[in-house]
Amino acid sequence: MPNLKELSKKPARLTGGHRMCAGCGAPMVVNWVTKALKEGDKAVIANATGCLEVSSFLYPYTAWKDSWIHSAFENAAATISGAEAAYNAMKRKGRIDETYKFIAFGGDGGTYDIGLQSLSGAMERGHDMVYVCYDNGAYMNTGIQRSSATPFGADTTTSPAGKVVPGKQQFRKDLTQIMAAHNLPYVAQTVAPVPGTKYMFDLYNKSEKAIYTKGANFLNVLTPCPRGWRIEAATELDVIKAAVETCWWPLYEVENGKYKLTYKPAEKKPITEWLKLQGRFKHLLKPGNEHLVEKIQAEVDRRWERLLELCGEKEIAKAEVAASNK
């Protein structure tokens, strides 16, 4: 386990003075991804249009201490792939001595939706890069519109909960699985750091692996958005914890095609533990909507069971049962 005192001595690569909302999870994620960079290594960071982008480099103030580029919404992966290609060419010509690492950040809008083609292309081409999706489950930058990452039932400005339609009517796209299907060296699903849990360093560890495993790698990070989730900022990490403990957002990694669960809750909490903390799901918990909660629970269970199979946890469980029967 990494040592916090030692980590704190590494200079931060993102400064204060950015214009993200108070309590935003995105800079937390950026801090912990970039903390995984070795001190001597330089980085080029690309950012898809979104909250993080507009708030971290609002001319003339940049919060980035590494080289950083934003060009558009849907193309952070393509943009960083070009920078990586140029680096390879310049390195081949002997024009560059230093080591550079290439990281792209995008929200779920820029990654799951409008940027999916560019992401898929860059990943398939195998550039030496990491794409980090800070997934907060809606287009927060434009005012909380639904994305394909938005959870079923969530009340957003384009999937509003009304008298007839109770919020978003589709379950979220499973982007981590889509990226795993690209057969990349390293794909992982993780969360913003939650102190006091076993997965406090999950993001850091997975970032380190992603950055220092050669090839195109992908991280999907559940990131709190107090405004979009309608929660008190101070409680946001409790909400993240609930996402993990209910198995709504399991922590796992896929290394060279091999699935591995990186955290298994001792007791899987009911989905209401995640729903009840957030204003965007408030309507689901009203009397008469029990069937919706059941529907969500069933889908969470189905996806969790499938993941357990992929991670070989089912065989492990069977073996454990068999061993105890002997």
Partner: protein, 101 residues
């Protein structure tokens, strides 16, 4: 304190003086931009109760927990937006969360 910058860009500069294409060569100059006045609540550090576990530093979205040599030394009120994420993490009562006056 404003650090010495390669180019100090101000809104009264003409197009001839601004950096081309909006490039910024002073990486991290957002430090010069104070977000401290966004606060309506304020974290207050009780030095004597602090165990220097650094969990507040882990979660601060604004890099406003000052740490030197592995120990907390204070709060950067120039940038702290008063979100309260740090105070929620403190198990030792070393961070109070109080309204701004």
């Amino acid at each position: 304190m404003i650090k010495e910058r390669k180019v100090n860009i101000t809104p009264d500069m003409t197009w001839r003086e601004l950096t081309p294409g909006g490039v910024i060569q002073d990486a991290g100059n957002a430090e010069d931009f104070k977000t401290g006045d966004w606060r309506s609540m304020r974290p207050v550090w009780n030095t004597e109760k602090c165990k220097h576990c650094l969990l507040c530093w882990v979660v601060c979205p604004d890099n406003s927990i000052k740490v030197e040599d592995g120990k907390m030394t204070g709060i950067d009120y120039d940038h702290c937006k008063g979100c309260g994420v740090c105070t929620a993490q403190c198990k030792f009562g070393a961070l109070d969360y109080v309204p701004e006056e």
